[in-house]
C-alpha cells in the first residue's frame, strides 16, 4: 500500500522540463530539415526525427524508462507489427508487374486494374466520375 511499493517513484520536474525542451528543439529541427532540399534524404530524415521524438515521449513522458518490461513489450510489439504490415504490403506494391512484363506494356501503370481505354478515368464515363 505504501508509496515505495508502487512500481512508480516520483520523477523530478526537471526531467520533464528537459524532455519538453528536447521535444521543442527536435520539432524545430524537423521543420528546418524539411526546408532544405536533401533530395531522397528528406523523408528518412523526417521519419528519423519523428522516431526520436516518439522515443523521447514514450521513455520520459509515458515513463517506459522506469516501467515494468511488459509495457515496453506491448509498445514495441505494436511497432514491430506496423513494420511487418508496411514491409509485406510493400513486398507487393514495389514489385507489382515485374515478372509479367505484359501488364506494364498494356497501359504503362503498375496497377492490377485494367482500363478499357486509358483516360476513361478522367472523363466521367463511370457513375463515380460523373461529377468531375
Amino acid at each position: 500500500m505504501s508509496e515505495q511499493n508502487h512500481s512508480h517513484h516520483v520523477i523530478p520536474v526537471a526531467v520533464y522540463a528537459k524532455t519538453f525542451i528536447a521535444l521543442l528543439v527536435l520539432t524545430a529541427l524537423t521543420v528546418l530539415a524539411s526546408r532544405v532540399d536533401l533530395g531522397i534524404l528528406n523523408t528518412p530524415l523526417a521519419l528519423g526525427i519523428a522516431l526520436v521524438k516518439m522515443s523521447v515521449v514514450a521513455l520520459f513522458f509515458m515513463g517506459l524508462k522506469w516501467d515494468k518490461g511488459i509495457s515496453t513489450i506491448l509498445f514495441v510489439g505494436a511497432g514491430v507489427a506496423i513494420f511487418i504490415f508496411m514491409l509485406l504490403t510493400f513486398a507487393d506494391f514495389s514489385f507489382r508487374g515485374d515478372i509479367s512484363a505484359e501488364e506494364g506494356s498494356t497501359f504503362g501503370i503498375k496497377s492490377p486494374v485494367k482500363l478499357v481505354e486509358p483516360g476513361a478515368l478522367h472523363h466521367g464515363e463511370t457513375s463515380k466520375g460523373s461529377h468531375h
Binding site: T89, D92, F95, I99, S111
Partner: protein, 534 residues
C-alpha cells in the same frame, strides 16, 4: 467437502436485473454463451438454405441476389457474431479466472461493457438484414463493396463495433493473466488453455484494430470518396485486401488458438495423465500468434499481387505448420498409456484431431503458390476453411461446452443423446465437406449460384449431409436446454479434472469463485502429485 451453505453463482442473486448489470465474469460468460449459440443456429440456418438452393444446377428457391445475400450473411454471422467471440468471450470469460484461482477478471466493468458493445454491433448486423442485406461476401472486397446498393454500411459498422468488443476482451485477458494469478502459479504452472487465451489476446489487441480502421475507411470511401480503395478515383482495391487480411488471417488464429487450448485440457483430464511437452505446447501458441501476422498475402495470390510477394507469403505460410504439428504430436503422445475414458467431451477431442489434421494439411496444399493458383476460389478452399473453422474451432467449442457445462450450470446432460448428437455432427460434417474437396478439385468455383450439370451428384450428396449435420445440432440444442431444467445435479468434479476450476466447491462456483484463494504447488496436469478433488 460439500457444505450445505454453498450458494452457486446462479442462485446467489435472482431476477433479470441481477443478470443485465452483473459484473461477475461467470454470468457475463453465460450471457455471451447464449448469444453466440443463438448466432450459431442463425448462421447454421442460412447454411441449410444455401445448400438447399444448390441441390439443383438451376434456380430452385432463391434469386441470384438472394443467394449472394445468404452466403454473405452466413459468413459474416458465423465469423463476427459466432466464432470470434465463441471460445474466448463465452467459455474463456467463464473459465479463465477460475483456472487462475482469481476472484474475477482484472476489469469486470470493462468486461460487461464489451458484452454490450458486442450485442450492439450484432444488432447492427442483424438490422442490415432488413435494409437490403449485404451481398458482397463477408470479406467486403472493394470495389464492389463501394458500389453495392445493399446495406454495406450497417453490416461493416456492426463488424467494426464488434471488433472493439473483441479488443477489450483481449486487453482484459492480458491484464488478468499478468496480475490475477493465484499465489504459486508461475507462468509454467498455467493451464494450457490460459496460454492459448493469452496468445489469442495478443492477436486480438494487435490485429483487430486494423479491421476496425479498414472497415471505417470502407465506410468513409462510400460516404466521402476518400479514394484509396476506389480505382475510379485512383485508389487500389488490392490495398483493401491487404488491410482486410492483415486482420482476418490472424483472426483465423483468434478462432483456432483457444480451440487448441481446450484440446490440451480435454486430453489431460480424460487420459488422467500429465501433458506431454508442456512448454512446447505453450511456446507453440505464442509462435502461432507471431507467425499469424506474416502470412496474410496467401489470400491474394490471384488478386494481382506481385509475384515476388506471393512467393514470400507462400514460404511464410508453411511455417504455420510447424507449431501446429508440435501441438498435434504432443496431444497424441499424451494419450499414449493414458487411462482413456470415452466421455462425450473426449469424443470431441478425437474428432478435433481428425478434422483439424485434414484442415491443416489442406491448408499447406493451398499455401503452395503453384497449386493455389488452380484451387483458388473453388470449393476446395471452402472445404479447407470449414475443416479448420468448423472441424477445428466449432468442434472444440462443443467439446469445451460439454466439458464445462456441469461446472457452468451444475447439471448433467444426457450421456446417450450427447453421443448420438456427436456422431451425427461428426459424420454429417465429413459428409458435407469431404464431398466439397472433391467438388473443388474437379473445378467447381465457390460462390456460384448455378453450376454445370456434371457437378449435381456431388452437390446433392453434400446437401443431404447438411441435414444430418443439422439434425445433430438440433438434438444438441434440445438436450442441452432440457438438462438446464431436468438434468441430474452434477457433482463438483464429474470428469476428475485437477485444474483449479474443478477445485471449486459444489456443482457451480460461488460468487467470488473460491472460499479461500488457492495455493498452487504443482503443474496444472500433475496427476502424480495433485489429489483429484471430489
Amino acid at each position: 467437502m460439500s457444505d450445505s451453505s454453498h450458494v452457486g453463482y446462479l442462485e446467489a442473486e435472482k431476477g433479470l436485473k441481477s443478470w443485465l448489470f452483473t459484473l461477475d465474469h461467470k454470468r457475463i460468460g453465460v450471457m455471451y454463451l447464449f448469444t453466440v449459440f443463438f448466432s450459431l443456429l442463425l448462421g447454421g440456418l442460412f447454411a441449410l438454405l444455401l445448400r438447399l438452393e444448390l441441390l439443383t444446377p438451376t434456380t430452385l428457391i432463391f434469386s441470384a441476389k438472394q443467394y449472394n445475400q445468404l452466403f454473405t450473411l452466413h459468413g459474416a454471422i458465423m465469423v463476427f457474431l459466432f466464432i470470434i467471440p465463441s471460445i474466448p468471450a463465452a467459455l474463456g470469460n467463464f473459465i479463465l479466472p477460475l483456472q487462475l484461482g482469481a476472484k474475477d477478471v482484472a476489469f469486470p466493468r470493462l468486461n460487461l461493457a464489451s458484452y454490450y458493445i458486442y450485442v450492439f454491433g450484432a444488432l447492427f448486423s442483424v438490422f442490415s438484414l432488413f435494409t437490403g442485406a449485404v451481398d458482397t461476401g463477408w470479406t467486403f472486397y472493394t470495389p464492389y463493396s463501394v458500389e453495392s446498393s445493399t446495406s454495406v454500411i450497417a453490416m461493416t459498422l456492426g463488424a467494426f463495433i464488434m471488433g472493439f468488443s473483441s479488443i477489450l476482451t483481449g486487453v482484459n485477458f492480458i491484464a488478468t493473466i499478468h496480475k490475477m494469478r493465484a499465489p504459486g502459479m508461475g507462468w509454467f504452472r498455467l493451464p494450457l488453455m490460459v496460454w492459448a487465451l493469452y496468445a489469442t489476446a495478443i492477436i486480438q489487441v494487435l490485429a483487430t484494430p486494423v479491421i476496425g480502421i479498414t472497415l471505417l475507411l470502407l465506410i468513409l470511401e462510400r460516404i466521402l470518396g476518400v479514394g484509396i480503395f476506389d480505382p475510379t478515383l485512383g485508389g487500389d482495391p488490392v490495398l483493401f485486401q491487404h488491410f482486410f487480411w492483415f486482420y482476418s488471417h490472424p483472426a483465423v488464429y483468434i478462432m483456432i488458438l483457444p480451440a487448441m487450448g481446450i484440446m490440451s485440457e480435454l486430453v489431460t483430464t480424460f487420459c488422467k495423465k500429465n501433458i506431454f511437452g508442456y512448454s512446447a505446447i505453450a511456446y507453440s501458441s505464442i509462435a502461432i500468434a507471431i507467425i499469424s501476422f506474416l502470412v496474410w498475402g496467401h489470400h491474394l495470390y490471384v488478386s494481382g499481387q506481385s509475384e515476388y510477394a506471393s512467393m514470400i507469403f507462400s514460404i511464410l505460410t508453411f511455417l504455420v505448420g510447424i507449431p501446429s504439428g508440435i501441438k498435434v504430436f504432443n496431444w497424441i503422445a499424451t494419450m499414449y498409456k493414458g487411462s482413456i475414458s470415452l466421455e462425450t467431451p473426449f469424443l470431441y477431442f478425437l474428432a478435433f484431431i481428425f478434422l483439424f489434421c485434414i484442415g491443416g494439411f489442406t491448408g499447406i496444399v493451398l499455401g503452395a503458390l503453384s497449386l493455389d493458383v488452380h484451387m483458388h476460389d473453388t470449393y476446395f478452399v471452402v472445404a479447407h476453411f470449414h475443416y479448420v473453422m468448423m472441424g477445428g474451432t466449432v468442434i472444440a467449442f462443443l467439446g469445451g461446452l460439454h466439458y464445462w457445462w456441469p461446472k457452468m450450470f451444475g447439471k448433467m446432460y444426457s450421456n446417450k443423446w450427447s453421443k448420438i448428437s456427436w456422431f451425427l455432427i461428426f459424420v454429417g460434417f465429413n459428409w458435407v465437406f469431404l464431398t466439397q474437396f472433391v467438388l473443388g478439385a474437379s473445378g467447381m468455383p465457390r460462390r456460384y449460384y448455378n453450376y454445370l450439370d456434371q457437378f449435381q451428384p456431388l452437390h446433392a450428396f453434400s446437401t443431404v449431409g447438411t441435414w444430418v449435420l443439422g439434425s445433430g445440432f438440433l438434438i444438441m440444442t434440445i438436450y442441452l436446454l432440457h438438462s438446464l431444467k431436468y438434468g441430474k445435479v452434477a457433482s463438483a468434479n464429474p470428469w476428475g479434472g485437477i485444474t483449479l476450476e474443478w477445485h471449486t466447491k459444489g456443482p457451480t462456483p460461488i460468487h467470488h469463485n473460491f472460499v479461500d484463494t488457492p495455493q498452487v504447488n504443482y503443474g496444472p496436469y500433475d496427476y502424480e502429485n495433485v489429489e483429484i478433488p471430489s
